[in-house]
Subunit: 299 residues, 2 copies
């Protein structure tokens, strides 16, 4: 009987497995993934005891599993849930790790049936611009926040178990309404990711991009670090959180238009007032919470 | 006779002084600044031998000075040059350290008179979101690039001396046309700085901004690090490089509009293609040059 079945043995899933191991969990950990070399890497690193490709017969591993972690690219949540549902053990708790929550709840409602009360939507605020089991780290969640967005029908015991799972991984757990979660993360995560991707792509599309990139410095480096993130993952996020993201893009575009006008008018007072407000906020944020943590990047 | 007169003993100027000291230069280094505590900090750190406020009688220190480094907020370049010109020694080489170059060349042409051939416009691609002599570092320029944008009338011997000065600070020196420089840096530095300031200010302006910021993670942290930079410096850059910046904002806005449309249409193929192009470029850039340097941030 597995302590943990990780469906999607990428950066996120494998890091959970490594973190559980590091916390002293000795039970069986099973990984399911789409690439044999990646599963082998997860096993070599001691994250999983056994790895299955998706089309191999892994459903028997679900019997008695304590936690089933679904950590696949978000567009695949629905089909993974549908595959899980018939074989899920009535004692297992299912958690996901996606960056948007309304979308995964819709998928779970459509597919999990009687298991729905034991599904705890979760979003670990941790990640990296690198992908795969090789990039995983037992420390990925240490000191990070995991947001859970329980449903009205979520079983309190399942919620408790999911919280214990994330705590064992080293994280702090907070709870939010799913719609509120999606709005907040559209602003503080999804929009900046897209802006970073956009800036890099726009500069790279120039015939003389080499000269531009040769002159880019540390500001560009940090601003665009997240533009090296998984395109598949971020495509799914952009689509899953479309409505909130569109609102955020609109608001940002209006702010950009206003700044552009200040620059065109040579309005140094307005420009400096904006920069001053932002710098003050960013400096005090930087001295607290995630802003003060150096080292492992969290997304 | 001073080896170096630093007019503006902030992060940039004081770091040059510390770097020269670290390279073994033992000659006199004089600092001129607008705050006594900052000058005292520069002296305590061993960067300067003597510090003057702007309204103190420091012009006698210019006699025989080898290098006069003007490292003041860019809007003050013109008045500093005008103050320098009557007292400049005909052997001294003047360098600046500003992030835009056409603007400082206009100021120099208007004020330096016969000294113009010994002015070498310079832009060290190094900095920090922190300011002042306390934040200065002898290592700030090590491995960084300094762009010089000489004029047609620049004296080759002065150019050589300016290059030696930056090399002694630990930098590599490259040469660019001033207009080309300003266009490139509008794209790879000035625009991302403004986007980072904008995002922070826009989120901070919400009545419930505290909850947004409490949920911001490492992506937000790195994307917005440069939003803690000096508001005065970045106001001056936005105004000095207005034309190039407006072109860049227009181009970026078009790219944002196109992405917004792809999201509205649910066009996952177009979105992923963009993200994939950007991620590939960012990853290979990250493995070379500044992208691969960790540690002291460069702006």
């Amino acid at each position: 009987m597995a302590e943990l079945v990780v469906v999607g043995a990428g950066l996120i899933g494998t890091s959970c497995a490594l973190a559980l191991r590091a916390s002293g969990v000795t039970g069986r950990i099973v990984g399911v993934g789409r690439s044999r070399p990646n599963l082998d890497a997860a096993r070599t690193r001691g994250a999983i005891d056994c790895g299955y490709l998706f089309d191999e017969p892994w459903s028997s591993e679900l019997a008695g599993a304590r936690i089933v972690l679904v950590a696949v690219p978000m567009a695949q949540n629905r089909s993974v849930f549908a595959a899980l549902a018939p074989a899920l053990d009535p004692r297992s708790v299912v958690v996901d790790a996606g960056s948007t929550k309304q979308d995964v709840i819709v998928a779970a409602r459509a597919t999990l049936g009687v298991h729905l009360p034991r599904f705890v939507p979760s979003h670990p605020i941790a990640g990296s611009e690198r992908s795969g089991a090789e990039a995983a780290s037992a420390a990925l969640y240490v000191g990070r926040q995991v947001i859970v967005t329980p449903l009205p029908e979520t079983d309190p015991a399942a919620l408790r178990l999911a919280r214990e799972f994330w705590t064992a991984c080293g994280a702090r757990v907070a709870s939010l309404d799913a719609a509120r979660h999606d709005r907040i993360f559209a602003a503080v995560s999804h929009l900046p990711h897209l802006l970073a991707f956009l800036l890099v792509d726009e500069i790279a599309s120039r015939p003389d991009s080499t000269e531009y990139l040769a002159n880019a410095g540390g500001g560009f480096r940090d601003f665009t670090r997240i533009a090296a993130s998984s395109p598949e993952m971020w495509r799914d996020i952009a689509l899953a959180n479309r409505d909130a993201l569109e609102s955020e893009i609109d608001v940002f575009r209006q702010a950009l238009d206003a700044l552009s006008l200040s620059i065109a008018h040579g309005d140094g007072v307005a420009i400096e007032a904006l920069l001053e407000r932002a710098a003050n906020v960013r400096r005090s944020w930087g001295e607290s919470g995630v802003g003060a943590i150096e080292g492992v990047p969290a997304i």
